[in-house]
């Protein structure tokens, strides 16, 4: 199933949370190229989320990572 939550109007005042479906992730690392403060593929070739509740100012870049992940493994949850 597609794991993308395509939020056009994020909830005001909510906290953005980055969610990874690790069954889908294959460490292509495109997310790391877009937002290295949040996504890091390490030497072990696994993806690590450095901060799963990034500041709202990062939303555009996180959303770009969501769009450009070849496996659609990233989604944003607005808590």
């Amino acid at each position: 199933m597609m794991a993308v939550l395509d939020r056009l109007h994020p909830e005001v005042g909510g906290q953005m949370r980055v969610v990874i479906d690790y069954d889908l992730c294959e460490s292509n690392a495109i997310c790391m190229g877009i937002a290295p403060e949040v996504f890091e593929v390490r030497d072990d070739d696994f993806l690590y989320i450095l901060n799963d509740t990034p500041d709202e100012s990062m939303r555009d870049r996180i959303q770009e990572a969501v769009e450009r992940c070849p496996k659609q493994a990233i989604s944003i949850a607005d808590d």
Binding site: M2, L8, A29
Partner: protein, 410 residues
């Protein structure tokens, strides 16, 4: 006043254009037209997970939530563009002539797979571009077809070969050029890819053209492929033939429209083809300052970023804003067996390629492409982290020496 934006082509580029229009505040009438009656789907799995049987149509559907408020015209083929009238002539799903109007237009009709001349009407021969193509090949494999011949050792052919090999088929891969992927990644790295397939037991025939296809007719006169006859006189028995010899852009319908057509729609450095008209995806030929020439990119990531940029270009036109230049660093990936191949930038025009990490014989490595001092691109196999770091250097125009230094430090 822009009431209506029409998008012709509902695959990855067109769909991202539509989504971006809504995300960036377009509230007017948004029409999306496509000849395919199916809702949009993602193509990369067609040569991999769909072909292997791991995934089906529902897994690869592209998200287009109802809140995008799209007026879908699927099964509707665009046949002509009238810039004066701001309308597109179409054939409706019932076969009637119709028109779709626009105030602004996104053209993203992409490309079609080239087929092998003289193979029409022979069962067992396929291109691999659409969901139907992938399901047709899969059906043959599921029914027991074991001898697969792949014509073309480009990325589509290579992925099909890998998937079929992993399904236990006998695979022969035929490439007319002496080295595969020469334009995409250069001859030296192309040979590494050929060796990867040989290591997995694929019979790789380089520098060999297909002379003809031999087929048998059944009692009803329906022909089915029997063998592929090569230019060197050899004959390869085949149950399934998959042709991956490239694509031709779908711009025939734009003849006489006034747009500049030259192996794609020629656009400016903001993706504008004409006032109120942008092009995105496989068929957009744009001037790249980065590479000093016009380029047309057929990759997945490009469809996304160009679709998004095309949408923003139309909004800039609407709002009287300064448009952004479009000149991204191309990014490409291919999954073959347990290898991930990544290419950031381009290899075209390189005068040197240097392996800066790992070992090509292990099929784990990073190589950089240069032209003089210029850093053109980076190729990685199972080294995504390195490719991403080097890609950042491409983004900011670092030179080759800096790229090599960084790579060797990682």
């Amino acid at each position: 006043m822009t009431d209506t934006i029409t998008v012709i082509g509902a695959s990855l580029a067109g769909l991202h254009a539509a989504r971006t229009l809504r995300q960036k505040g377009f509230e007017g009438h948004l029409v999306v037209v496509d000849a395919d009656p199916h809702r949009p789907y993602d193509r990369p799995p067609l040569s991999k997970q769909v072909l292997s049987g791991e995934q089906d149509a529902e897994h690869i559907a592209l998200q287009a939530p109802d809140e995008l408020d799209i007026d879908w015209r699927l099964g509707t083929r665009a046949v002509a563009l009238d810039q004066q009238a701001r309308s597109v002539d179409v054939i409706t799903p019932t076969g009637e002539a119709g028109t779709v109007s626009y105030d602004q237009l996104v053209i993203a009709t992409g490309a079609a797979a080239r087929s092998l001349p003289g193979t029409d009407g022979i069962a067992g021969i396929h291109v691999l571009r659409s969901l139907d193509d992938s399901l047709a090949v899969r059906a043959q494999l599921d029914a027991g077809a074991r001898r697969v011949v792949v014509i073309g050792a480009g990325f589509i052919g290579a992925e099909v070969a890998a998937t079929c090999r992993e399904r236990g088929c006998e695979v022969t891969m035929i490439e007319a050029l002496p080295v595969p992927l020469e334009r995409a990644i250069g001859g030296e790295m192309g040979m590494v890819c050929a060796r990867l397939h040989e290591q997995h037991g694929v019979d790789v025939r380089l520098g060999t053209a297909v002379d003809r296809i031999e087929s048998d007719a059944d009692a009803h006169g329906h022909r089915h492929v029997r063998s592929v006859e090569l230019s060197d006189g050899t004959s390869i028995p085949a149950d399934v033939v998959v042709v991956g010899i490239g694509v031709q852009v779908n711009t025939g319908w734009l003849q006489g429209s006034g747009l500049t057509l030259d192996d794609g729609i020629v656009v400016d450095d903001t993706l504008l083809a004409a006032p109120g008209i942008v092009a995105a995806g496989d068929l957009a030929r744009y001037p790249s300052a980065r590479y000093g020439q016009q380029v047309r990119v057929e990759h997945w990531d490009h469809a996304i970023v160009s679709g998004e940029a095309a949408a923003k270009r139309l909004l800039a036109e609407q709002r009287g804003e300064e448009p952004a230049t479009f000149d991204p660093v191309p990014w490409f990936w291919s999954d073959q067996y347990d290898r991930k191949i990544h290419l950031a930038g381009r290899a075209a025009g390189h005068d040197q390629v240097k392996v800066v990490h790992g070992d090509v014989d292990e099929f784990v490595f990073v190589a950089v492409y240069g032209r003089g001092d210029q850093f053109l691109g980076v190729l990685g196999m199972n080294r995504p982290r390195h490719v991403v770091r080097l890609r950042a250097l491409l983004d900011r125009g670092a030179d080759l020496a800096e790229a090599i230094a960084l790579a060797e430090s990682l």
